[in-house]
Structure formats: C-alpha cells, structure tokens
C-alpha cells in the first residue's frame, strides 16, 4: 500500500433484537457520532463516507444509502455503498481504507448496519425459488451440511461446537454493547438446546440483531494527533463462485488466499505466535475450528484441537478469538463484519474495556459472506507498519 492508514475513531450501537426506539437513520447516527466523538472530529472534518449493509430485503428499503447520505453528513462529499453479503462490514472498511492508502482522502467515515427486526432474516434468506421445492431454511440450513462435512473430514468430537458457543457467550458477557449477555451459560444448556439444523443447536447459532458500527480511518498525517491509532499492517479481499465442481466448501480457497495475502503484507509467517487476538466471523459455533484451519492457526483437520485445548479463550488461551463475544453474541448482519474489524482495532488500541487482552500488539479482523464466497480481512498493529 502506498500511504499508511490508521483507525482513529470507533463507535457502535447497543445491539438488541429490536431497536424499536430508533429509525435506521437514528441507528447509523448513534454509531457514527460515537466514532466521530472518539476521533475528536465533527461531520465537517470527514472527506468521504463509505457505507455497507447486507441485502436490502432485510429492511425492504431499496438503496438505503440514498436516504442515509444526509444523515451521515455526506452532502457535498463522495459517498458509496458496498455490498458483499455477510462479509460486507469488512469489505466496506477495506474500501474506505483504500481511499486513504491511495492518498485520495485524509479522513474517511465508514459505517455498516442492519435492522433485522424490520423483517425476518429466516424469511429473507429462504424465499422459495421458482422451479424448485421450498427446501431452503435460512443460513443455518445452508451451513449445517458443510459443518457436517467438516466433522466427518476432521473427526472432531461433538462437544467442540458446544465449547465454542459457551466460550463466546462468556466473552460477550463482558462486552456492554453485545446483544446477548449470557454469563450463566453452561455446556449442558447448550447441549440440551433444540437441534434446529442437525448438527447445529439453537445455542450454537447467532442471534438476529439490530445494530450499527462505524469507524474513522485516517492518513498518517491525520492520525498524528490521535492518542491511540491502530495501524493497518495488511488487508485483502477475495471471492469465489458459490458453486463449482470440486469446490472445497469446508476450507474455501478464497479464504486461504485472502489471509495469505494479508499475512504477506504484514510480514506474518506464524499467525498463532505473531497475532495476539483475532475477531473472526463465527456465526455458527463450528466455524471457529473451521476458520482456525482456513486462517492458518492450525493445520487442516487440527483446528478443533486448538479449540478443545482452550487456546481461543481469553481466560488463559494463547490466541483468544472473539473476546467481544463475536457474531454468536451480536449479529446485525451488515455490521457484523465491521464489528470484527472494529473490535480488532479496539484491542490494538487497548480500549476494549472488560474484554481487553493485555499487551495486544497485532490483531486480525475477519469477515465472510454469502455461501462462504466473499472474504475480507485485515491485520492491525499498535506500531506503524
């Protein structure tokens, strides 16, 4: 990348199953104003706005960016909307970051949101398709067979998914913004919860949330006065078709290629040793061991052993994953990826509060979307790259 880029402001809403107290504009402003306040900036200081959200079906507002432009102070400024399904929160950040690393803008506001309570994600993701039987059953119905394939391929025992569900909920109970707060969750309560999409249980599944996230990204010059910038050390996006003969759906090549690019930019050769915390898009419990392998933290087939050893817990693990509680605690779909990127930044800046890990120097933020066909990732550091 040509110019350096840093995160100098972060904001997010209180996430909930239904934020009926706000409009969509009110929701995105709640996050954006907090990010501006964190950065010590005002609307007028922003050069450009990049917004992202998942399918418009969720709210039934076509191209909401048109109506949100004035709500985000974008009048007279460049504004664009990014859409890459569930990974959009991450790719939105990266499009914004490119506006800085390219040297075009000094301060870019990036925002992502979803207001799932305006409709029903199960419906929006399961619309019967012409000429086909109505078999689709939401994202869980799509991903559960892939999880079954992972379990078969790796020989992982059944309790791994349950362990992730418990761990992320315990992490999330320390995050005041998280949608779900379940400090009393137990292995038994997850195990005994309803099997929604066998092999996926209810408590191994992410919630539907209303929420928004925002960040201010700045050039090196604009970040000079920031007390705690988080520097971009590497960032990349990759995609691949949803279906093609011989596609590895369990360990998609686009994810492997994407992270290899990011690590090369950041000079990382041993991710488990060189990355201190990771915020990874895990909407269903089993995606933790699957992504541990895809992202190079474990050899293929070995990710579940890392989870099983407690390595990904912030209570004693050496590579804590999803200290914020992750997508399993908070899932405003369009914002879920940006929350991963923002939580990684909070850790690097030392501002994550009760879920802060000590001495974080480098953090990974990750998002994926669609049928595991879109990937977006970045690595941030406390030092300039």
């Amino acid at each position: 990348m040509a110019e350096r880029c840093a995160v100098i402001g972060i904001g997010q809403t209180k996430h909930a199953s239904a934020r009926t107290d706000v409009s969509i504009a009110g929701l995105v402003r709640e996050a954006a104003l907090r990010a501006l306040d964190d950065a010590g900036l005002d609307w007028a200081d922003i050069d450009a706005v990049v917004i992202g959200k998942a399918p418009d079906m969720f709210e039934g507002v076509m191209m909401p960016e048109l109506y949100l432009a004035p709500a985000l102070g974008a009048v007279g400024k460049p504004m664009m909307r990014v859409h890459t399904a569930g990974s959009v929160g991450g790719s939105t950040v990266l499009v914004a970051a490119h506006l800085v690393t390219s040297g075009i803008h000094e301060r870019v506001l990036t925002v992502a949101f979803e207001k799932q309570s305006d409709s029903d994600a199960m419906w929006a993701l399961s619309v019967p398709q012409p000429f086909s039987p109505p078999l689709l059953a939401g994202a869980g119905g799509y991903f559960a067979p892939i999880i079954r394939a992972y379990i078969r391929r790796s020989g992982a025992p059944d309790h791994i998914g349950i362990a992730v569900a418990v761990k992320d909920r315990l992490h999330g109970s320390r995050n005041p913004y998280a949608h779900l707060h379940m400090p009393d969750i137990t292995f038994e309560s997850v195990r005994d919860s309803v099997m929604l999409w066998d092999p996926l249980r209810y408590l191994e599944t992410c919630p539907s949330s209303d929420g928004a996230a925002a960040m201010v990204l700045a050039s090196e010059q604009a970040a000079a006065s920031s007390p705690a910038p988080a520097w971009v050390h590497g960032m990349a996006m990759r995609s691949e078709p949803t279906m093609f003969a011989g596609r590895d759906q369990v360990n998609p090549r686009a994810g492997r290629d994407c992270v290899a690019d990011v690590y090369a930019q950041a000079g990382i050769t041993e991710p488990r040793r060189e990355i201190d915390v990771a915020e990874v898009y895990v909407p269903f419990s089993w995606y933790e061991p699957m992504w541990l392998e895809n992202l190079g933290f474990a050899a293929e087939g070995e990710g579940w052993k890392l989870t099983d050893s407690g390595a990904t817990s912030m209570d004693g693990g050496d590579i804590p994953w999803n200290c914020s509680g992750g997508v399993l605690c908070t899932n405003p779909i369009g914002a879920s990826g940006m929350l991963r990127f923002a939580e990684a930044a909070l850790q690097v800046r030392g501002l994550a509060g009760e879920h802060q890990v000590d001495g974080v120097r480098r953090a990974l933020g990750h998002a994926y979307g669609g049928g595991s066909q879109f990937f977006a990732m970045w690595v941030l550091g406390s030092e300039k790259p």
Binding site: A18, R19, T20, D21, V22, S23, A25, G26, R29, W43, A44, M57, E59, G60, P70, A71, L72, G73, V75, K115, S117, D118, S119, D120, M122, W123, A124, S126, V127, Q129, P130, F131, S132, P133, P134, L135, A137, G138, G140, G141, A144, P145, I146, R148, A149, R152, R153, M195, L196, W197, D198, P199, L200, P241, M243, F244, A245, G246, Q249, V250
Partner: protein
C-alpha cells in the same frame, strides 16, 4: 413446448415490513394523526430552515436538528406532475397531481398529492389546502393527510385548520409559530389515543417479478417432465453440471453438450431442518440433503424421505421418487424426494471432493 423455449415463472417477494420510525418521524406521524403537520428547525441565524417532513438531522450538515414546529395548514405547489391513470395503491383512485408542496412556514417542499380534478387546474405557484381524513380514521400515517386541494376550490375541505391561532403566513416562511414538543405531540382534545406515540409503521411490500430460467435450465426442467435429469458437460474440464447453468463456472466457457443422468445418486452431506419460519411449506423435521447424481460433478439440494431422519447418513445411496407423469411439471418439484436404494453406502473417498 418448443425445445428452445425459455421457461419463466412469476416470482413474488412479499413481506409486511415493520419500521421503527424514531422520535422525530414519530412526532411527525403523531402530529398528522392530530391534524397538523410538523417540521423541524435546522441550522441557525440566517441559515435557519424549517425542514418538512422533519429529519433527525440537518440534511445539509449532519448536525442534530432542533425543535419541532407546526407548519401550514396551507402551502404552495412548487412543482407537479399529472397522474392520469393511478396505479393500484395510489393515494387517490382518480386522476390527481403528484406535487411538491411547500407548506407555509416551511423551507422545504414535501411530496404529496393534489386532488385538482384536472391537469388544467394545476399550476406551479398555486395555493393549496390540506384535506384530512376523519379524526376517527387517522392512524399516524402520511395518508392521514388524504391530499391537498386548490385553495378556494369547490371541493369539500374536510380538514380543520390545525390550530385556530395559527393563520397561514405565506409571505413569512421563516417565522413559523406554535413550536410543538416532540415528546408531547398530541393535544388534549385530540380524538385518537393522544398519548400513544407513533413508534412503528407497517409497510407491506410486494414485488412482482418474472423469473426466467434461461435456455439450459429450461432444457433441464423440460427433462423433469419426462422423468429424466439432463445435465451439461464442460467442453474444457469435462465436468457435468446438473442443473446446468449454460456455462462452466471454472472455465467460463459455454456448456452445450447435454448429458442424460441416472436418477440414482449419493447423499454427500445433509442437515435435519427443525426450525419453523414464515413461508415454510414442508412438515418438520425434514432432511435436506446434497444429492450427487451418478455421473454428475456437482450436487444439488433435495429432500430425503423413506427413512427415519436419524438414520440418514453421508454416503447414503438414493433414488429419485418421481411424481406420476400426469402430475409432473417443469420443476424440481416433479421429484417428490429421494429415498434409499438399499445399496451399501458409497465409500467416503467416492464423494469426498464434492464436500
């Protein structure tokens, strides 16, 4: 059916969206229910404006907007377009004008409709008055204000001026009076639940699409009527796609060679669906599986029956259960389900690369 005919089908997306409106639009809607139009002050000094409908923010700067103020009831048409054939669901069921109306005291114009009788009665700059629906029928919606009518027209104006003490001041738009309180938008003598704030709007949306299956998929769908699965082979990598998509996603070349496939195959992976949701049409629980037909290089999703859900397994050999010929149509629904063939399970290695 001609062999090259492209099949198409209605594709309807429909949902009763429920919008939370937030405090500012909520006050605006509550105001309409109470028979008045509210705007909001934005900016200050010489730059002060009254924005109608009100926003939570100054649209020019992004700063928070200020206090809410009543505007109107009359206003000026700043632009308009005649609608001679109203569509179903239009605000009026007779010809009308879509119009931008700048209400007295407002800086901005609001989109609404004018019931003028004919296009000849419309003019930019004309003055209009609101016609409200009966108080008992108001629900907190933009359509509580049924329409505008030309000032001085013979049309019965059922609207009461919002406030007797708030005469229109058409030449003094920067001085709206009677600031309303966002948290207390209703007046004591209002008919409908004056204390209920308007928090949500029901917005049913229906989109009527026509889905076109394309040439290759149409050939596949016609095969289903005959009880056969027709796939297509990539001329470059030789992989067989079913349903065919007309091109190979790996090589990016057209697939033109049709391949008739067996109606037996292997379950590569599956899940047992046990979650109810709107629009669901199959009894729970059901087994939704990826079925790899013999001779194909890609699996597709279908239903597994004829075996208890907890006995379905990866590698299970299955055969299509077809509807009787007379009941078949060009749809994968012509296959009721797949059921076990009774053969031994396929070895994992035989389908591993399709996971």
């Amino acid at each position: 059916m001609a062999d090259t005919e492209v099949l198409s089908s209605p594709h309807i997306l429909e949902y009763p969206y429920s919008r939370s409106v937030g405090p500012v639009i909520g006050s605006f809607l509550a105001g309409l229910r109470d028979g008045k139009v509210l705007g909001v002050r934005c900016g200050s000094g010489a730059g002060e404006r009254v924005v109608v409908p009100p926003t939570e923010y100054d649209p020019l700067t992004g700063e928070d907007s200020g206090e809410m103020v009543e505007v109107g009831p009359g206003g000026v048409v700043t632009s308009w377009a005649w609608e001679s054939e109203p569509l179903q669901g239009a605000p009026l069921d007779k010809p009308f004008a879509w119009a931008l109306v700048r209400l007295d005291g407002a800086t901005t114009a609001m989109l609404h409709v004018v019931d003028a009788g004919s296009a000849g009665a419309m003019a930019t700059g004309m003055r209009v008055l609101p016609r409200l629906v009966e108080p008992s029928a108001r629900v907190g919606s933009i359509l509580d204000l049924a329409c505008f009518v030309p000032e001085g027209s013979d049309s019965p104006v059922r609207a009461q001026p919002a406030e007797p003490g708030n005469p229109a001041q058409p030449d003094d738009p920067a001085q709206p009076d009677d600031p309303a309180q966002p948290d207390d938008p209703a007046q004591p003598d209002d008919p409908a639940q004056p204390d209920d704030p308007v928090t949500t709007l029901s917005t049913p949306i229906r989109l009527d699409y026509r889905f076109s299956a394309g040439i290759s998929q149409s050939r596949f769908l016609r095969g289903l009527v005959e009880g056969v699965f027709i796939g297509q082979r990539c001329p470059r990598c030789a992989k067989v796609y079913v349903p065919p998509r007309g091109s190979c996603p790996t090589d990016g070349v057209p697939t033109t060679e049709d391949v008739e496939l067996s109606d037996t195959g292997t379950v590569t992976t599956f899940c047992v669906v046990n979650v109810p949701f709107q629009g669901q049409a199959i009894e729970l629980p059901y087994v939704c599986a990826q079925v790899l037909l013999d001779g194909a290089n890609i699996s597709f999703m279908h239903l597994i029956q004829g075996i208890p859900a907890d006995e379905v397994r990866m590698g299970l050999r299955v055969r299509a259960v077809w509807k009787p010929p007379a009941e078949r149509g060009p749809s994968l629904e012509s296959v009721l389900c797949f059921e076990p063939t009774g053969e031994p399970d396929a070895p994992y290695e035989s389908y591993e690369e399709y996971l």
